[in-house]
């Protein structure tokens, strides 16, 4: 059985973090292990995992890593939104093949920390996070921060 701390990224691997709380100081367990271990507070989701299996345990989780083995596999975006839609408020970390041009979409889907396999250029990343000043769709960012969509702005809802 995989024990807590056996794998996953460490706080040192995190290049960008948009939270003020203390990061979890140990590694993560698989989704299967998290379902069995009632004390696990950090879990790692692989592309094929069903993020909804974690919904009954969200209260005890402080870190969820979502792995992108290849940046072209977009399942992690849905997993992230599903967790945020269910009220998960802990750290949501994108790990793996995380590149500049996916950062803005990841952020919108609720990721608030990023541990790329290869460190990214800080300036390029800063620009990428700021790609969309306004947004068309409702997503995790509009839900969590009250950021208004373009349609809402057009009709005087939100600011």
């Amino acid at each position: 059985m995989v024990e807590a701390g056996d794998f996953g990224t460490s706080p040192d691997d995190v290049q960008f973090r948009f939270r003020d709380d203390e990061p979890v100081d140990h590694g993560t367990v698989t989704v299967d292990s998290a379902l069995e271990q009632t004390n696990a507070n950090a879990v790692r989701i692989e592309p094929g995992d069903d993020a909804r299996l974690l919904l009954p345990f969200l209260d005890r989780l402080a870190l969820v890593e979502i792995n992108f083995p290849a940046f072209t596999d977009g399942r992690g975006y849905s997993a992230a939104r599903i967790l945020r839609e269910a009220g998960y408020a802990g750290e949501l970390r994108a790990v793996g093949d995380v590149l500049i041009d996916q950062l803005s979409h990841m952020r919108r889907c609720g990721f608030d920390s990023f541990a790329p396999d290869k460190r990214l250029d800080e300036e390029d990343a800063k620009r990428a996070f700021a790609t969309w000043e306004k947004v068309y769709q409702h997503a995790a960012d509009t839900a969590l921060t009250g950021r208004a969509t373009i349609a809402q702005r057009r009709h005087g809802e939100g600011a």
């Binding site: 592309p47 975006y77 849905s78 803005s104 409702h138 373009i150 057009r154």
Partner: protein, 542 residues
């Protein structure tokens, strides 16, 4: 038609800036070609056999004259003086330089256009009925719903790395002029008990595994349209196959799960998403609708002097009944005999733009059959319009005839193709024009694809031709009985393939059989359906 506000403009401008930065990082070596590829694809930039190809989006096929003029100017400025209108109502330029791409996007942005998501594994340009807003038989203009979905699908944070490309089509009449059920999602706006709503068909497509989309919902309320689409996409993004590129389209997921199980999962996701506030305010749909109100039609003559036989045949074949009885929609054929289907020169584009301004309330449409429409032409103006088109080589009277061939770019341009499509289309149109059989054959949809990916819609042709590679030689398979319309069906292969000359002979044989066997009022496809494949096989191989 729709006009951008500050927000829409800001979005396309942001996109241009983003792409410029990506191209810079590619040139600086910060992005590998593998990393850059999906990004350039999402901006419409392909690498073809000889050069880059840029595909520009024409949302739901609607353009104004300013935009059409810009398309013509781009053809002259950055390409070799022409462009190619596609089966998804877009335009592509085949001779583009990578270093010009960001400048072209910036030029497009000045006329409220873009190349966003015209390629890549994301939600593509939304297509629609080319007679939308003009047709006598529509329940409502489908374009406001397409525009709502355009905004929703543009830069969607969750659905930009789907298992495979995703095409959506919106229509609003019983007649299907847009191949709606051969899309990943086909939406038909209907009226039920005085209420408008949307029927959803999911999992259609052509390609190597053609499928007709089953209906998954017979009525989605208009204030839940975006939410329902989001549910359809989320189930696909999570469970669509990613292990095999050729099985990654949603049609395979729907087929493997079964339409019923897919629908159950969508309904569950939909119920969840309804609680999430995904839907834009209904006032937004109402705002968009105000851009699609009728132009100021005026009563006028309902018929026109037809003594010139060339003009009369053009009117009969290339005009479509309008909702106002003093107007018609006029089809500008981009299928001159012996020409390249869908190609137009920069000069022709500017001419079409001027004619649209003069005769059609500044509106133009692109058809999935690779022609152009002036949607609102006064019947009284038809002689003058025709004279100008005729003069410019744009007056071919062949809409929906055997000369109105859909053909993919084929081996002349495309790196995927196994065989050439364009020369075949040219030779077939020349042959039938010369023999004078085009008119006798009436409605006959012939579609040619240069490979199994089926960009030329051969599965949906009354007569379909598929180019394959047979031991290093181009070989063509013939199929019969397909339709992309409301009587949607998939064509069946006749038997062994032919060489280029042979397949042209074969087309002649099956059309001769039709002419000999048809009963009063029967189209080719009707005769085929009545007789079945056997007599056609007999004529070809017997």
């Amino acid at each position: 038609m729709y006009a951008y506000d500050q927000y829409d403009q800001q979005m396309v401008d942001a996109r241009v800036a983003e792409f410029r930065d990506q191209a810079r990082r590619r040139l600086e070596g910060k992005l590998t070609e593998d990393q850059f590829k999906p990004l350039r694809l999402m901006n419409g930039l392909y690498l073809q056999l000889h050069a880059y190809m840029l595909r520009v989006a024409i949302p739901y096929g609607t353009l104004n004259s300013r935009q059409m003029t810009m398309l013509g100017d781009i053809a002259d400025r950055y390409d070799r003086g022409y462009g190619h209108f596609t089966t998804r109502q877009n335009i592509q330029y085949n001779w583009i330089k990578l270093e010009d791409a960001a400048d072209i996007l910036a030029d497009l942005a000045t006329v409220e256009m873009h190349a966003t998501q015209t390629s890549g594994n994301c939600i593509r340009n939304i297509s629609s009925d080319h007679f939308a807003g003009a047709a006598h038989d529509e329940v409502v203009d489908p374009r406001p719903y397409a525009e709502l979905l355009r905004q929703w699908s543009s830069f969607h944070p969750e659905f930009s790395y789907l298992p495979r490309k995703f095409k959506i089509c919106v229509i609003a009449s019983e007649k299907d002029r847009a191949a709606m059920r051969l899309h990943d999602i086909g939406i038909r706006i209907i009226e039920r008990d005085g209420e408008l709503g949307a029927q959803f068909f999911v999992g259609g497509g052509m390609g190597r595994t053609p499928m007709i989309a089953p209906m998954v919902r017979d009525f989605v309320a208009l204030d839940q349209l975006v939410t329902y689409a989001e549910a359809c996409l989320r189930v696909y993004n999570r469970y669509g196959r990613r292990d095999n590129k050729y099985k990654a389209r949603i049609k395979i997921l729907v087929h493997e799960l079964g339409a019923e199980e897919y629908t159950r999962q969508v309904e569950e996701e939909f119920a969840h998403l309804l609680e999430q506030g995904v839907e834009p305010p209904f006032a937004e749909l109402e705002r968009i609708r105000t851009f699609f109100t009728d132009p100021p039609f005026e009563d006028d003559a309902k018929s026109v002097e037809r003594s010139d036989p060339d003009f009369a045949v053009w009117v009969d074949r290339n005009t479509h009944r309008h909702k106002h009885d003093a107007y018609v929609s006029a089809v500008i054929s981009l299928k001159p005999v012996g020409g390249i289907p869908g190609d137009a020169t920069g000069e022709q584009m500017r001419l079409m733009a001027r004619l649209a301004k003069q005769y059609s309330f500044d509106e133009i449409r692109v058809m999935h059959t690779q022609n152009v429409v002036l949607p609102h032409v006064r019947i009284a103006d038809l002689p003058a319009l025709w004279a100008e088109l005729h003069e410019a080589g744009l007056g071919a009277p062949n809409m929906d005839t055997i000369e109105d061939i859909i053909a993919c770019p084929g081996l002349d341009y495309c790196s995927l193709a196994n065989a050439r499509s364009i020369p075949l289309a040219q030779r077939i149109s020349e042959r039938f024009d010369k023999s004078g059989k085009t008119g006798k054959l009436g409605e006959l949809k012939l579609k040619i694809s240069g490979c199994i990916n089926a960009c030329g819609h051969h599965h949906a042709g009354h007569i379909g031709i598929l180019g394959v590679d047979k031991k290093g030689k181009e070989n063509y398979q013939l199929s019969l009985g397909g339709s992309e319309a409301e009587d949607v069906s998939l064509a069946k292969i006749t038997g062994p393939g032919f060489d280029e000359d042979g397949v042209i002979e074969a087309v002649e044989k099956v059309t001769d059989l039709y002419l000999a066997q048809r009963t009063e009022g029967e189209r080719f496809i009707d005769t085929y359906r009545r007789l079945g494949m056997e007599p056609f096989k007999e004529a070809l191989y017997g």
